[in-house]
Symmetry: C2
Subunit: 430 residues, 2 copies
Amino acid sequence: MGESSGKGFQPTAILKVEVLNTGTELLLGNVVNTHAAYFGRALFPLGLRLARQTAVPDGAPIRDAFIEAFPRCDVLLVTGGLGPTTDDVTRELAAELLGRRLVEDDEILRAIQERCARRGFAFQERMRRQTMVPEGATVLPNAHGTAPGLYLPPFETPAARTPHLFLLPGPPRELKPVFEGHVLPRLRDLMRDAVVAECRVYRCVGIGESLVESRIGLRLSEIAGLEVGYCARPNEVDLRLIGASSVLDEVEPLVLAELGEFIISRNEESLESVVVAKLRAQRRSLAIAESCTGGLLANRITDVPGASEVFGAGWVTYANEMKTAELGVDAALIAGHGAVSEPVARQMAEGARERAGADFGLATTGIAGPGGGTGEKPVGTVFLALAERGRPTLVWREFFPTDRGTFKDLATQAALSALRKRLDLPEALR
Amino acid sequence: MGESSGKGFQPTAILKVEVLNTGTELLLGNVVNTHAAYFGRALFPLGLRLARQTAVPDGAPIRDAFIEAFPRCDVLLVTGGLGPTTDDVTRELAAELLGRRLVEDDEILRAIQERCARRGFAFQERMRRQTMVPEGATVLPNAHGTAPGLYLPPFETPAARTPHLFLLPGPPRELKPVFEGHVLPRLRDLMRDAVVAECRVYRCVGIGESLVESRIGLRLSEIAGLEVGYCARPNEVDLRLIGASSVLDEVEPLVLAELGEFIISRNEESLESVVVAKLRAQRRSLAIAESCTGGLLANRITDVPGASEVFGAGWVTYANEMKTAELGVDAALIAGHGAVSEPVARQMAEGARERAGADFGLATTGIAGPGGGTGEKPVGTVFLALAERGRPTLVWREFFPTDRGTFKDLATQAALSALRKRLDLPEALR
């Protein structure tokens, strides 16, 4: 996951932005912190990049982190600690460090009372803390929760000048509307004159990180004004190029010549999204039959808005009898070869395709583990099949000896990748 | 997401642990950082807690972060930047700051060459950087990738004493085995004499964070030696209590009296895991019929090891015709009431249950959005149904006006929660 090389492309950002996430739960591991990734993505189009992200537990560590970050950055985005419970102290700490009194805000009080009435909750006295606002702060309304965000413009403290300080609610579904509605517009104003760099992400499936770099890395690293990064995920590598659009345009033919066959998208689009788009464009439809992936394959497809145009039905036939009853898999084949086998995968894909009247049928049958492996078919074994109207069915075996969750990720990735390749065939070969 | 109150429970940790995540991709948002949550969970049983987590982009910021963290902590866990590509510089920076020469390690070289041979890859000269080890470092073998971890014990630099420094690979599937096999045992040795606190998490479904606190928060906050935290997720709140086991035992009756009906687990077990365990214990089985949740419900169930004992089949009937053909939903009902309706949900649940010969049938039909809403049934509307052998079918309507992904989360949470309640009925009422 190392990143960022190239002959010193200089980001054009004129504001140094940091994120401070507060919350003991983030450090105990009860919750995965998705805020940094969210902010990073949202800021990039403005020409802004996160210089640092810090997470600290509640209480005194927040104070330390404020004091350290204030002189280091121009914009500080703080999440969490604005809620109604007694462990929410961000608002009070900020007011204290900036030497500002907290005053009750009538409009917040009214909004909270209305919200409670609308949802049939009683107003609780403890919610009153959320109506307190440091003097000089701007309230950033929160339509999805009781705690509004707060904006404190830079001002001189005894110690130093403070950054643009944004205090934001922690839950993502509250944070995002407040950030997009009230923080981004302010940052956009601050950045109005900045030259914005472009970022292109070439997402590759079917090739490893080392090979991507050995094919193209050295040449890219010699190009002035280009920042190069790599990021690997299960059976997926992103090649990320950052620079002026003219530089990226110049480089693109080289990238396509070396990696074209592996590139599935150029805008961070997911594999499932690419597959659904291609099916829609070709007006073809898909049916899914899953055993070991247990619904994840259908779930990935239906995560894509508009999937209903191309996806009519999926079966999760976990039990052998259901493979026979619902998909027409020959019970004798299961008895003879086992449910995890080439002929069963084939009949699952074909059965799903036929029953749904679809153009394609995609099937998985394997051993996700932790139990169920044998010497001949250890945990991690999976057979995949792709049936297509009027063509022979493709069946192949893969081996992903890992944890149950990653196994499901890798098996669905392999299935979708095969379908994508098929959809990419020139029209004459379809 | 504010956290941690109570009358000053003092964590017994004697070592201050920090995490430093390196990688431009973390700050650009191409990747969600799951390392902090992983480390937090893994360290807790040892009596250790993360004091801080920091993410920085590659390059000079890593050096700054090293220099700041060294005097602040006793253990520093660093992730990323050990890979084969030119942007991976953590190893070199650490060696430079600690004033240690890098020397080639024959065993690493041999391991990499063997790994390449086994997987049919050519050894690439760029991989040789990964064989370099700072003098005095211990190599932490990595069976899942080419870059081993490195351990540098504390020693005196010109500036200060350095912490126990662990350099670890970034990809989670490489990081976890190295951490669990080679880092945790070393930390366990360091902590051998520490008094370890216990953490109990009461996971509640069907009650909001404010209500949890108003029912019980004040009383908990008055108990000495108890740390109280809350964490809210979509339709789920964790009440987290940390303290000596004797204190937690004393408090438990109060928690159960006030929140018992909402508590689904006491060990951070997921709702799907609780449901599967109850089905297994009662030897009852489940079939699933999904429309709007598109496979997520089956996917959650099949994420639980052993799900195959209780889950035989699921249908993702996205198209109306498939609801009729596969589940026996009356086409006239769909025409008259729409696919998103009470009678269609009912017939889906009953049809799935009957076809699978299962004890329960659970169904969802709704409008995930962003398109497809109407005035009467706006985006976010969902009908859920729970069929049970020998009992009337339960059908109810919910409204989750949010994004597509959260909608699927909330709808599956509601479905599983209803099933859990049914499974909790006393035997006489079943």
